[in-house]
Structures are given as structure tokens and as C-alpha cells.
């Protein structure tokens, strides 16, 4: 099969084989392309879907994006069981194997440095949500006249707003404290933008969306810490995801920008 090369990750050489039935983003099983002491994990993808233009068009198709994202994650997950992969961003595509080799060669040093930094570490995701009020959603009828008097309405509204503000303040304090605590148990942390509830389908408003880099060996302790802080905060919900490959920590720390490839 010809086509373009989709690269999932770069790793150090590892002994174990990849799962046999692993399918890549376009159904083509990923293979290992070894170059200069590094391994690029690559599969063939059709140009009709993955060349720059069609790829961009596809990105607006949530179903397509979902399929590709899950396949990409499937490969990274499989790699995580045998090594510590350095994941590349979704949609990293090259014309052919030699393009991949050139890229690996140009960035060898930085890959090795980052792989050393991430070796044996995983990423945990922690999110804090402020639970939605118990309002039964948008008023059923196109809301003709409110029954209560104007003054009652305003008073009610003020109280709602006040308890809402209190909850937000508590949530903010809670999140700050949680982030400090967890940063203390982690080697590094990143703050992601709060998630849009429409896309996440999660109830409540997302106020903290953080990622923590934790050595595998200390993961259990980290998870316990999250579990402990979870109690005793009414109206506030904590969610934990992971372990992930260190996606959020794959970028250069703050090394001067080298224009690779």
C-alpha cells in the first residue's frame, strides 16, 4: 500500500512487539521505522483523506475526527504498555518514509532529551466541575408572565446569584488548593482550557482542567491524593482520567525554537 505516512509517536527502540491486531488511523497496522537509534511509529494513510486540504476539511467532521482520535490513542496506548512513547500531535503526516527519516534525524537530539525527561512517567488528568444548579432546564413554555411579584422575583434572583457566587468562590479556592497539592505530588503540570460542556456532555461547569506528570511508581499515591481531596466539597465534583501517555508534556520545556525539518 502506498500513500502518506502518519506518525503517531517516536520512541527509543523497545524489544516487545506491538499487538498484532492493532489498527491505525486508516486501518493500516502501525509499523516501526527505526532510524538513528530512534523508532518512529508509522502507518500508511490515503492521500485522499490525509493530504493537507482534505485533512482540514475532515477536521470539521466530528465523527471523522473521533474515529481518527480514537485510533491514534489506541496506538499510543499500545505503545505505553511496552515503552514510554513521545506522542506527536494528531495529524502529523509525511509524504514517505524518507520524509519521516529526515524529520527524525533533524530532531534526534531534542527527541532524546524529551524521551529521557518523560521516561517512566505518565500523565494524569484532573478536572474540577461546579455542579449545575438544580434548575429543571429552560422553562417549558415560552415563559409568558412569571407568577410572583416583581419584588419577589428580584429577591429570589438575588439569592440565587448570591449562592451561585459563594459556590464559585468555594470552587475557585478548592481548585487552587487542589492544584497546589497535586503539583506537589507531580514533577510537572499543565493547565488546559476549561472544557465546553456541549462537547464534553459533562454536567456542571468545568473550572479546572489540569494535567500532571507523575512517575509510574508514584501513580498510586497520586490517585489516592486525588481521591482524598474529593470528599467534603458539596456542589463541586472532581474527575480523574488516566494514566495517559505524557501528551501534555511532550513539548520542549522552553528550549530556543529550532526550526526542524
Amino acid at each position: 500500500m502506498t500513500g502518506l505516512r502518519y506518525v503517531y509517536a517516536v520512541c527509543r527502540p523497545f524489544g516487545a512487539p506491538l499487538q498484532a491486531q492493532l489498527a491505525g488511523v486508516a486501518g493500516d497496522p502501525p509499523r516501526l521505522l527505526t532510524h538513528h537509534g530512534l523508532v518512529a511509529v508509522v502507518s500508511h494513510v490515503p492521500e485522499a483523506d490525509f493530504a493537507e486540504e482534505p485533512f482540514h476539511a475532515h477536521l470539521e467532521d466530528l465523527d471523522w475526527l473521533t474515529t481518527v482520535a480514537r485510533a491514534h490513542q489506541g496506538v499510543i496506548d499500545a505503545l505505553t504498555t511496552v515503552t514510554t512513547p513521545l506522542p506527536l500531535r494528531l495529524g502529523t503526516v509525511f509524504r514517505d518514509d524518507s520524509g519521516v527519516r529526515t524529520m527524525v534525524e533533524a530532531r534526534e537530539e531534542s527527541f532524546l532529551r524529551t524521551l529521557a525527561r518523560l521516561d517512566g512517567r505518565v500523565e494524569w488528568g484532573v478536572k474540577v466541575f461546579v455542579e449545575a444548579e438544580q434548575t429543571p432546564g429552560p422553562a417549558a413554555a415560552p415563559s409568558p408572565r412569571k407568577p410572583a411579584s416583581g419584588r419577589d422575583y428580584l429577591r429570589q434572583r438575588r439569592m440565587e446569584t448570591k449562592s451561585h457566587d459563594d459556590l464559585w468562590q468555594r470552587a475557585e479556592a478548592f481548585s487552587t488548593h487542589l492544584h497546589e497539592t497535586l503539583s506537589g505530588c507531580a514533577e510537572d503540570s499543565r493547565l488546559h482550557a476549561p472544557q465546553n460542556p456541549t462537547l464534553s456532555g459533562a454536567s456542571g461547569r468545568n473550572v479546572l482542567n489540569a494535567a500532571y506528570l507523575v512517575p509510574r511508581a508514584e501513580s498510586e499515591k497520586f490517585v489516592e491524593t486525588v481521591e482524598r481531596t474529593r470528599d467534603g466539597a458539596p456542589g463541586i465534583r472532581v474527575e480523574l482520567t488516566g494514566p495517559w501517555a505524557a501528551y501534555s508534556f511532550a513539548g520542549e520545556e522552553s528550549v530556543a525554537g529550532e526550526e526542524g525539518a
Binding site: 482520535a69 500523565e123 434548575t135 501528551y247 526550526e259
Partner: protein
């Protein structure tokens, strides 16, 4: 409510990592960084188009 390892990963959590994380490589046929930022914008457009059809589950409190 415990560790969600076995639950299907939420798409948003995945996209936070796949579109905002990972090593960004420029050159050859890969998307340039500016293009990757566009991905976020496209996604926002997508979200707002979803919004138009799906009523917000929350009443806006001002």
C-alpha cells in the same frame, strides 16, 4: 466515581491531548503550527453549530 481507566475515554479529554498536546512537527506535509491553531477554531465553530441545535442544559445566570 472511581478511577475511570476502564470507561471509554471522553472525546474532549482526548482532543485536549491530541490537538493541544503532543510534539508539533513542521515541514514536509505536516500541518504548520498556525494550522493546528486553526483546528481549535474549526472545532469551536463546530461546537457553536452544535449549540444552535442542542439547547443549553443550563439556564444562564447573570
Amino acid at each position: 466515581m472511581t478511577v475511570v481507566e476502564r470507561r471509554e475515554i471522553a472525546l474532549v479529554d482526548l482532543l485536549d491531548r491530541l490537538l493541544a498536546g503532543g510534539v508539533v512537527i513542521t515541514g514536509d506535509l505536516t500541518l504548520r503550527i498556525a494550522d493546528v491553531d486553526l483546528v481549535r477554531i474549526d472545532l469551536n465553530a463546530l461546537i457553536s453549530s452544535v449549540n444552535a441545535n442542542v439547547p443549553s442544559p443550563f439556564e444562564e445566570l447573570r
